[in-house]
Symmetry: C2
Subunit: 339 residues, 2 copies
DNA sequence: ATGAAAGCGCTAACAA
DNA sequence: TTGTTAGCGCTTTCAT
């Protein structure tokens, strides 16, 4: 039962299986690969031998010899701790598993350098395609992957400077939905706390809000805050906004992390209580009665996976840029209880 | 810029790098592997050639030839959508990255069969060790991995029927903490909604509550509910409990998913508002002012990674069963606001 | 339907 | 310090 070096039996090889089944190496290979031109009898004996020896094909050797790629697709995200990304990963996996494909997730830690690293890492692992939520503005580097014959699909943030498929949300319309909801709610001092300024998702959401707010007399440009990339800075921003002489009556959180920071700030210092509207939909938003503008993350992931699979089937197909709608989920305060 | 089959240049091989540098295959190999006994001049020319050709070592071939294992550690969890597991994954990665190791996550989908599958999958990918949050009660199957020379570390749920390292929380003490908190709060009708009945974490938390509650006059055995494995069933349980003629004054949620279900139910039907206490600490618990009994997930993951690395260093060391403390985080209601 | 030989890209011995 | 010769375990020609 112990794992001393001694009882670490070397794995049986195909040669051994073949020997045991009394056939040639190649025949054993054929049988286990499920190829045709193998007599039922031979097949049976090879399978039996393999089972007895507890044989498992050495994938590395197999892929090396055949020059094929692994039955897997890679997914690069910035932080698998973010529910948005894990939901995405789940959706991708749900879509590719029925096709016999595996998901290989990689963490770029929102660093361009790491992203480059892990993308090649995935390529080294012989993934058939890569799906990425890129943390960089310029995606030219991904051309290297494509040159290696690996299709790349961009998710949530569309491809820039490289020809590839993308699936994104209609963030601009999302921004409009958010703004209209608050304007309709009578708000005229609206703060927006956004992620990194260079992020396309942020910029588009912002632009959408501008589409609506700039047509009104609402004050909001002064109440704009950016680069609140993590919960802590979002909280700090919120506190700053709430301590303003004339604080906003509504705060829009640019994404789910920011929303958490906003809520933490409001919870801590309940001096003024602005209305809150979030982008993305963390699972707890419903419990807190927070209205959100969100897209279907499940659909986002599935669509990305579909594009990846489709390109594997036909390299020449036109690149697609799929845009998924966002919608407003309007909620009203409820007062949860605790002990 | 397009990815037509034609411009998919075959990757350069070591042979080509060697040729270009004007050295032998092996010399090139040595240079790139950073071995000693390579003259500075040779090293430079090989590196240059490799750079010019954009050479990348074929890992599969490398591992095959050397018989070594990849610099990676596998982590098996039941659902990477669960924040508890993603936090765990993050912690493991944080711990092993400085050692030059990569994390390879695998999803068992809480299925024993899948778990067996992915564990061998990881082994096929030549991971050096496997860390698992097992969804099965009997871990004898993991002996196969150990026989393959791959150390296994059990996290959150300790090893059963197999000799291996484990890191778990002191769930029994956690149960006691939860019970005492509620008793001290004056509660005498306490409901506990738990996960699958066979789960050790659940059983221990339950036992701990029994340690305390059975010494009191509190009613709770009748208010016990199990197998609320997902949010929906936890919500259903809660609704059932709240509609009882004499509903509980406090509800204990057995884990973070259950807690969400409980909160959803309470939010929806605010007829009676019991006190709520959770196990684990979802990020939103603070915002909602929910008291929880939790352990340090970061420490859990790091400790597991340390055990895995330690065993790689010394196969003969004694198996450890690390037990990490749980603590009560007592919170009081606050009333978050929304719009 | 089966087998023999060659080789995928690389590293490990052993020379030189 | 460098090169040569074998393979790692498997799949592919091409025979048979």
């Amino acid at each position: 039962m112990s794992t001393a070096p001694g009882d670490m039996a070397p794995r049986p090889t195909l040669t051994q299986v073949a020997a045991r089944a009394g056939v040639s190496l190649k025949t054993a290979s054929r049988a286990l690969a499920g190829e045709s031109y193998v007599s039922a009898k031979t097949l049976a004996s090879v399978l039996a031998a393999a089972a007895e020896l507890d044989y498992r094909r050495n994938t590395a050797a197999s892929l090396l010899a055949s020059g094929r790629l692994a039955d897997s697709i890679g997914l690069i995200t910035g932080d698998f701790t973010n529910p948005f990304y894990s939901a995405l990963a789940q959706a991708v996996e749900d879509e590719i598993r029925p096709q016999g494909m595996h998901l290989s997730v990689a963490n770029s830690r929102e660093s361009a350098e790491q992203e480059q690293r892990v993308s090649h890492d995935l390529a080294d692992r012989q993934v058939k395609a890569v799906i990425t939520v890129s943390a960089t503005a310029d995606h030219a580097g991904y051309a290297q992957l494509q040159a290696r014959g690996i299709p790349v699909v961009f998710v949530d943030r569309r491809a820039e400077n490289v020809d590839a498929d993308s699936v994104v949300f209609d963030n601009r319309e999302g921004g409009r939905l958010a703004a209209r909801h608050l304007i309709d709610g009578g708000h005229r001092r609206i703060a927006f706390i956004g992620d990194y300024a260079w992020l396309p998702t942020y910029r588009q959401r912002l632009a959408g809000m501008g589409d609506v707010l700039d047509e009104t007399d609402a004050e909001w440009r002064d109440l704009l805050r950016t680069d609140a990339h993590d919960v802590a800075s979002a909280r700090a921003c919120t506190i700053e906004l709430l301590t303003l002489a004339d604080p906003p009556t509504a705060v829009v959180a640019g994404n789910n992390r920011i929303l958490l920071g906003v809520m933490e700030a409001i919870t801590e210092s309940p001096r003024s209580s602005p209305a809150v509207l979030g982008f993305d939909e963390p699972e707890w938003a419903r419990v807190l009665g927070i209205s959100v503008v969100t897209g279907d993350v499940e659909a986002l992931g599935r669509r990305a996976a579909q594009l990846a699979l489709a390109r594997l089937g036909d390299r020449a197909r036109e690149f697609e840029n799929v845009v998924l709608p966002m919608r407003l989920i309007s909620r009203t305060s409820t007062s949860p209880v605790r002990g």
